[in-house]
C-alpha cells in the first residue's frame, strides 16, 4: 500500500489486518521449486520413522520370547536386527537432513534474491518515503527468520499430520468409545489455539514494527554520527534509542507471553485426556465391557496421539511468529513498480541527443504540481543551463529526462522517441547524470570511478579522472586508485567526492549529460581547469547543467530560467542580459555582490 506520508523511526508501519491467504500461496511458489527434493526428504523421514518403530517391537520380542526361552541365538539375532534398523534409520535421516539443509538455504536465497531484485525496480519515491533501515531489515533479518518455517516446518506438518491420522485409525480400530474420549480434547485445543493465535499474531506484528523502528534509527545515526557529535546530542540520542529498545523488549515480552503458552497448554490438555481415559475406561464403562489390553493400548495411543499434536503446535507457533516477517517481505515484493517498462517497450536506439518536452506537467504528491505545462526543445549537441531559485523545479526537470518519475501529462521525447515507450535500462544507460549528493560506495576509488562502466581499462579511468582534475589528489592517496573508501568517505572532502563522481559519470560515456549542482563544492579554479577538458568531451553531446555559480553556466548555448514550475525565460547569456528580466536581475546581483 502506498503511504501518503513519509514514514520515520517514530511511527509504526501500516499493518495489513487479517492474514491474507495470498501470502501462503505466494510462499508455496517458493517451495514448489523444491517439491521433488522435499518429497524425497519426506519419504526418507517416513522411512526413518518406520525404522525407529522396530525398536519397541524388538524389545517386546526379547522380553516375551528370547528371555523366557533363554535363547541366546535369538537374542543375538534381535540385537543384530536392532543395529540394522538403527543403521538404516541413521542413513535415511542423515540424507534427509542434508537435503533439507540445502533446500532451506536455497529457499532463503531465492526469497532474498527476488526481494533484492524487486527493490531495484522500485522508484525513487519508495526510497524517499521511508527510512532506509526499515527496508534493510526486510532484506537481511526478516528473510532469515522465515526459512525454517517454509522448509522444515512444512515437512513437519505433513509428517505429523500423517502420523496423527495413522494413530487415530489404529485407535478407532481398538475401541471407538475410548477413542472419542481421546478426541474430546481436540475441540478444547482448537478453541485454545484460536484464542492464542490472534493474540500472538498481533503481538509478533508489533515486534516486527518495533524492531524496524529501531533499525531505522540505528542506521540513520550511524550514518549521521558526525551530526550527533557536532551537536553533542549523544545523551539525548541514547535516551531515544533506549526508548526504542525498550519498546522492542516490551513487545517481545508480550509476544512470548502468548507463544510460550502453546506448549504448556497442549501438555495440560494431554494429561487431562489421559486421566479421562482412566476415569471413563475404569469407572464409567461397565466391568467386562472393556479389556485390560484395550485400556493399555488406548492409553498408549493417547500418549502418542499428543506427541504429533505437540510438534504441530510448535510448528504452528513458529509459523505465527514468522508470518509477521513473511507479510513484510511479500508486502515489499508487492510494492507496485510505478516506473516500469511498458509492456510493448522497445530498446532505445543509440541516442543522438535531441530532447523535447511537450506540455509536461508533473507532481510528486497529488494536487501539488511542481511542473506545469513545460515545453521546450533542446537540439542535439546543445548545452543548456537551468537556473533559478532553489526548489523551482530544475532538478525535477532533469530527473524526468531519465524517467526517474512518471509525468502526469504531456510527453518527453528523445530523438523523437517517447521515453515512456522504451526500456528503462536502454534509456538510462545512455544518460550520464551527476546528482547533487555524490554517493561513494565502499570499495576502491578505481571501483567507484568504474561504477557505470565496470570493464573500463585503467587508461580510461586515468583519462576520465584527469579530465575532471581528480587525478592529482587521487595519486597522493596512500594507495592511489586502489585506496579503499567507504560510503561515508570521511577522508575525502566533498569536493573530492564530487570529482570522483564526475569522473564516474564521464567514464560511462553518456550520450546526454546532466550535471545537477555537480561542481558546487569544487573550487572555482579547479572547476575552470576541468571545464577545458570537459568542453572537449562535451562537444557534440547534449548536456543539461544546473548551477548557481554563473561563471559555470555563462558559456552554455542556452540558459533557461526556471521558476514556479515553468520556464520563465530562455535564451543565450547575451539575449537574456538584453531582455533585462529575471536572469538579468540574477546576474547583476551576483556581479554587484562581487564588485
Amino acid at each position: 500500500m502506498a503511504q501518503n506520508r513519509r514514514n520515520t523511526y517514530k511511527e509504526d508501519e501500516y499493518l495489513e489486518e487479517p492474514f491474507n491467504i495470498r501470502h501462503l500461496l505466494r510462499a508455496s511458489s517458493y517451495i514448489k521449486r523444491y517439491a521433488g527434493k522435499m518429497s524425497g526428504a519426506l519419504i526418507l523421514s517416513a522411512l526413518g520413522g518406520i525404522m525407529a518403530l522396530f525398536a519397541p517391537m524388538i524389545t517386546q520380542r526379547m522380553l516375551d520370547d528370547a528371555v523366557p526361552a533363554g535363547d541366546l541365538k535369538m537374542l543375538a539375532k534381535l540385537a543384530a536386527l536392532l543395529i540394522l534398523s538403527y543403521a538404516f534409520s541413521i542413513l535415511f535421516i542423515t540424507i534427509r537432513s542434508k537435503i533439507m539443509v540445502n533446500v532451506s538455504q536455497d529457499i532463503i536465497y531465492d526469497i532474498r534474491k527476488d526481494l533484492f531484485a524487486h527493490l531495484q525496480l522500485l522508484p525513487f519515491q519508495y526510497y524517499d518515503d521511508r527510512p532506509h533501515g526499515k527496508i534493510l531489515i526486510r532484506v537481511v533479518n526478516y528473510v532469515n527468520s522465515v526459512s525454517d518455517m517454509l522448509s522444515n516446518g512444512l515437512i513437519n506438518i505433513v509428517l505429523e499430520t500423517l502420523n496423527l491420522i495413522f494413530i487415530i485409525i489404529f485407535m478407532f480400530i481398538v475401541n471407538v468409545r475410548l477413542s472419542i474420549v481421546v478426541l474430546c480434547g481436540v475441540p478444547v485445543l482448537m478453541i485454545f489455539m484460536m484464542w492464542i493465535k490472534n493474540k500472538q499474531r498481533i503481538a509478533w506484528q508489533k515486534v516486527s514494527n518495533k524492531n524496524s523502528n529501531l533499525n531505522a534509527y540505528l542506521q540513520e545515526n550511524i550514518v549521521g554520527a558526525r551530526i550527533t557529535q557536532i551537536f553533542a546530542r549523544e545523551d539525548e540520542n541514547a535516551l531515544i534509542f533506549s526508548d526504542l529498545s525498550k519498546s522492542c523488549r516490551g513487545t517481545w515480552m508480550e509476544a512470548v507471553r502468548y507463544s510460550n503458552l502453546v506448549w504448556p497448554g497442549i501438555d495440560t490438555i494431554s494429561v487431562l485426556v489421559r486421566a479421562a481415559i482412566f476415569i471413563y475406561g475404569l469407572l464409567v464403562m461397565k466391568q467386562g465391557e472393556i479389556s485390560l489390553g484395550v485400556i493399555i493400548a488406548i492409553s498408549g495411543y493417547a500418549a502418542r496421539f499428543w506427541q504429533p499434536i505437540m510438534n504441530l503446535g510448535n510448528t504452528f507457533n513458529n509459523f505465527i511468529n514468522n508470518v509477521a516477517y513473511l507479510e513484510r517481505i511479500f508486502e515489499t515484493m508487492d510494492e507496485p513498480v510505478t516506473v516500469a517498462d511498458a509492456s510493448d517497450a522497445v530498446t532505445m536506439p543509440p541516442v543522438k541527443g535531441e530532447v523535447v518536452f511537450e506540455n509536461v506537467s508533473f507532481s510528486y504528491e497529488e494536487n501539488k504540481e511542481v511542473l506545469h505545462n513545460v515545453s521546450f526543445t533542446v537540439k542535439q549537441g546543445e548545452s543548456v543551463a537551468l537556473v533559478g531559485p532553489t526548489g523551482a523545479g530544475k532538478s525535477t526537470i532533469v530527473s524526468l529526462i531519465s524517467r526517474f518519475y512518471n509525468i502526469d501529462s504531456g510527453r518527453i521525447l528523445i530523438d523523437g522517441q517517447d521515453i515512456s515507450k522504451v526500456t528503462l535500462h536502454s534509456l538510462r544507460s545512455q544518460m550520464g547524470i551527476m546528482l547533487q549528493d555524490s554517493f561513494i560506495f565502499s570499495g576502491t576509488i578505481g571501483d567507484n570511478i568504474r561504477y557505470g562502466n565496470p570493464n573500463a581499462s585503467d587508461e580510461a579511468v586515468l583519462k576520465a579522472s584527469r579530465t575532471v582534475c581528480a587525478d592529482y589528489f587521487i595519486k597522493l592517496l596512500p594507495d592511489g586508485y586502489d585506496t579503499q573508501v567507504n560510503e561515508r568517505g570521511a577522508s575525502l572532502s566533498q569536493g573530492q567526492k564530487q570529482l570522483i563522481s564526475f569522473a564516474r559519470t564521464l567514464l560511462s560515456d553518456p550520450a546526454i549529460l546532466v550535471l545537477d549542482e555537480a561542481t558546487s563544492s569544487i573550487d572555482v579554479q579547479t572547476e575552470r581547469a576541468l571545464q577545458t577538458g570537459l568542453d572537449r568531451m562535451l562537444s557534440g553531446r547534449t548536456s543539461f547543467i544546473i548551477a548557481h555559480r554563473l561563471s559555470t553556466i555563462r558559456n552554455c548555448d542556452r540558459i533557461m530560467y526556471i521558476d514556479e514550475g515553468g520556464i520563465v525565460e530562455s535564451g543565450t547569456h547575451d539575449e537574456l542580459m538584453q531582455k533585462k528580466g529575471a536572469y538579468y536581475h540574477l546576474y547583476t546581483t551576483q556581479m554587484e555582490d562581487i564588485a
Binding site: I93, V139, A216, R249, M253, V271, R549, T589
Partner: protein
C-alpha cells in the same frame, strides 16, 4: 582477525554474566527451575504406571477397582496436578529466561549504541554502516539466544542425564556403568566438531555482515544505481554475497551432518547395549538384574538419548554465540581515541569564541602526506573569517580540528586560551555550531531537524532560525509547513533547501563559534545574499568561520585566509588581497569574468 578470548578484558561467559546485572538471582532461579521441571518430567510416567499396575494388570486389579476407587481418584488427581504444576513451572521458567535475556539484550544494545555514537572518525572509516548494524542486530540476537535458549537446553540436557543416571545407578549400577562407556565417544565427537565448526561460524558472521553492507549501500545509494542503470550489476553483486552466505550456511550445517551419524549411532548404541547386556543378564545371570529393572531402564533410555541428539544443535548455537559475541564485544570494549581527558574542563558558561591555531600540523591516520602544515592563526572573538582554497587543500580538515573530530599531529588549538583537549567534548561541541558540507538530515519533521541540537526549542524560535537561513519561505509553502516529514538524508528537498535547513539547525544552538563549511554552495545567489545579511544580524554573538567558493560570500568578512597545500598562503581583507594580486585576486577575476 583473531577471535580468541584473550582480546577482551573478560571471557564471553563472564561478560554475559556481567550484563545480566540485577537479574542474577532470577537467572539462577530460572536454571533451578529447569532442573526441577526436568526431574518432575521423570516422575509423571510413574503415576500412569502405578495406575496400570494397581487397577489393570496387577493381581488384585479387579479388587482394587471395585473397592479402592478413592485411591484411583487420588492417583489421577496427583498425576494431573503434578503435570499442571510442572507446566506452570515450565511456563514461568521460560518467561524468566526471556525476561533476563531481554534485559541483557536491552543493556548491551544500549551500550553498543552509545559506544558507536561516541566513536571518532577513525572508527567510522574502518567500520561500514552495514557491518555495524549487523553487530547491533543479528549478532546481538545470537547473544540473546544464548541466554534465552542455549543455556536452558544445556541445563535441561545435563539435568535430565544426571537425574536419569543417578536413578540408573541407584537401581542397577552395573548396567548403568555399562551405559557410561559411550561418554568418552561423545566428548571426542564434540571436541572434533567444535574445532571444525568454530571457524565456519566466524566466517558466517563475516558473510552476513558483508551481505548486509551490500544491501545497505544499495539502498542508500539507490539514486546512483538508477542514474547509471546499474540494477543488473547490483543484482550480481548482491547475488555474490547471497550465494556466498548461503554456501557458508550450508557448509556449516552440513558439518554437523558429517558428525551426526556417529552421534546418533552412539545414542542408539545405548538401546543396543541395553538389549544385549540386559538380555544376556536376564538369561544367564538372573540375579544381577530383575525384569522390572530392565523395563525401567528401557522406559527411561530416551532421557539419555534425546539430550545427546540435541547436542549438535546446541553446539552449533553455542559456536554461533561465540562468533557473534566476539563481534559484539569488539564494539562493546572499544574506546574512541578522542575522548575526555581525565579532569577535563567542563565549560558551563558560554565561551567567548577566540580561536588560536598554534603551529598545527595534521595527517590522516592512513594518509601518506600531511594535510595541514604548521598552521598558526588567531581568530578573535566575534570576528568573521573566510577560508578559501582549492578542492582538497585542507579547509575542511582544518575546521574539523576545532570540535576535535580529529587530533592534530603537532601543535595545539586553543579556544579562549585553553587547549581544545582540555575541554570536555560535550562542553566544547555545544559551543560550536557546524553546518557540514555533506548535508545530512534525519527522517523527521523539518521542525525536528532544525531543533536537533536543542529539542526544547519552541516553534517560534525554530521559525526565527529558518528565517535567518532564508528557509522560511519554502517551508511555509510545503503541505504541512514545519511538520512536513523529510525523508532520510532530506530526500524530497533540493540541495539548496537541505543546506538551508542544515544552516538553521546550526544556528539554532546559538553557538559561540559558528562554522559554515561551504553551506551555501547549492543556494541561489539571491537567497545567499539574504543569508549573508541575516548572519550579520544574528540575535547572539559568535565567531564565524565560513568556508566558501564564492567571492560574494566572502567579500564582506573581516579577514580572508587562502589555503594552499595545507598552508595559509594569503591573509587579509577583500581589498588587501585584491591589492596583493595573488590567488584571491585571480579568483575574483574568474568569477566576475573581467579584470577588476
Amino acid at each position: 582477525m583473531n577471535t580468541g578470548n584473550g582480546r577482551f578484558p573478560k571471557g564471553r561467559i563472564a561478560w554475559l554474566w556481567e550484563n545480566m546485572e540485577g537479574r542474577h538471582l532470577l537467572y539462577i532461579a530460572a536454571i533451578t527451575g529447569t532442573v526441577v521441571y526436568n526431574i518432575m518430567q521423570l516422575t509423571v510416567p510413574y503415576f500412569s504406571q502405578k495406575i496400570v499396575d494397581t487397577f489393570l494388570s496387577g493381581e488384585d486389579a479387579a479388587y482394587n477397582l471395585t473397592y479402592r476407587k478413592d485411591y484411583l481418584i487420588h492417583l489421577l488427581v496427583l498425576m494431573v496436578s503434578l503435570t499442571i504444576a510442572r507446566v506452570v513451572i515450565v511456563y514461568l521458567d521460560c518467561m524468566a529466561y526471556e525476561h533476563v535475556s531481554q534485559e541483557a539484550l536491552f543493556r548491551i544494545r544500549n551500550i553498543l549504541y552509545d559506544k558507536i555514537q561516541r566513536q571518532d572518525m577513525h572508527f567510522y572509516n574502518i567500520y561500514r554502516t552495514g557491518d555495524l548494524m549487523t553487530r547491533v542486530t543479528g549478532d546481538l540476537d545470537a547473544v540473546r539466544h544464548m541466554i534465552a535458549w542455549v543455556i536452558r537446553v544445556i541445563i535441561e540436557s545435563v539435568s535430565l542425564i544426571a537425574a536419569t543416571m543417578t536413578f540408573f545407578f541407584y537401581m542397577n549400577w552395573r548396567l548403568a556403568l555399562l551405559l557410561m562407556i559411550t561418554a568418552p565417544f561423545i566428548f571426542v565427537i564434540i571436541r572434533l566438531f567444535r574445532k571444525r565448526v568454530a571457524p565456519m561460524h566466524a566466517s558466517l558472521r563475516e558473510k552476513f555482515a558483508g551481505m548486509n553492507t551490500v544491501a545497505q549501500e544499495n539502498i542508500a545509494g539507490n539514486r546512483v544505481v538508477k542514474a547509471f542503470a546499474m540494477e543488473e550489476r547490483e543484482k550480481e553483486r548482491f547475488d555474490e554475497c547471497n550465494t556466498d552466505y548461503r554456501d557458508t550456511n550450508k557448509k556449516t550445517a552440513l558439518t554437523w551432518l558429517t558428525f551426526f551419524p556417529y552421534m546418533e549411532g552412539i545414542a542408539d548404541l545405548l538401546s543396543v547395549i541395553l538389549i544385549l547386556a540386559g538380555g544376556l543378564s536376564l538369561i544367564l545371570w538372573p540375579d544381577l538384574m530383575t525384569m522390572g529393572e530392565y523395563v525401567a531402564f528401557s522406559g527411561l533410555i530416551w532421557a539419555l538419548a534425546n539430550p545427546m541428539r540435541m547436542l549438535g544443535n546446541v553446539m552449533n548455537e553455542f559456536q554461533r554465540f561465540s562468533a557473534a559475541s566476539a563481534k559484539v564485544m569488539e564494539i562493546y570494549y572499544s574506546e574512541p581515541e578522542i575522548k575526555d581527558r581525565e579532569g577535563a574542563y567542563d565549560a558551563v558558561d558560554r565561551l567567548k569564541g577566540e580561536i588560536v591555531f598554534d603551529n598545527v600540523s595534521f595527517k590522516y591516520a592512513d594518509g601518506k602526506l600531511p594535510v595541514l602544515k604548521n598552521i598558526s592563526m588567531k581568530i578573535r572573538s566575534g570576528e568573521t573569517v573566510a577560508i578559501m582554497g582549492e578542492t582538497g587543500c585542507g579547509k575542511t580538515s582544518l575546521i574539523h580540528l576545532i570540535p576535535r573530530f580529529y587530533e592534530p599531529t603537532e601543535g595545539d588549538i586553543r579556544i579562549d586560551g585553553r587547549s581544545v583537549k582540555d575541554y570536555t567534548l560535550k562542553s566544547l561541541r555545544t559551543n560550536i555550531g557546524l553546518a557540514t558540507q555533506d548535508v545530512l538530515l534525519y527522517s523527521d519533521t523539518i521542525d525536528g531537524n532544525i531543533a536537533y541540537g536543542d529539542m526544547d526549542l519552541t516553534r517560534k524560535e525554530v521559525e526565527r532560525y529558518a528565517r535567518y537561513s532564508a528557509a522560511s519561505s519554502f517551508i511555509s509553502r510545503m503541505p504541512d509547513g514545519y511538520d512536513t516529514v523529510v525523508g532520510e538524508r532530506g530526500v524530497g528537498l533540493s540541495g539548496g533547501q537541505k543546506q538551508r535547513i542544515s544552516l538553521a539547525r546550526a544556528l539554532a544552538v546559538k553557538p559561540a563559534i559558528l562554522i559554515l563549511d561551504d553551506t551555501t554552495s547549492a543556494v541561489d545567489m539571491e537567497t545567499e545574499k539574504q543569508i549573508q545579511h541575516s548572519l550579520r544580524e544574528l540575535d547572539f554573538e559568535c565567531t564565524k568561520i565560513i568556508i566558501a567558493q564564492r567571492i560574494s560570500t566572502t567579500k564582506s568578512v573581516d579577514r580572508i585566509f587562502i589555503m594552499k597545500d595545507g598552508q595559509i598562503a594569503e591573509e587579509g581583507t577583500h581589498e588587501e588581497l585584491i591589492a596583493k594580486n595573488g590567488y584571491y585576486a585571480e579568483l575574483v577575476r574568474l568569477q566576475t569574468g573581467e579584470a577588476v
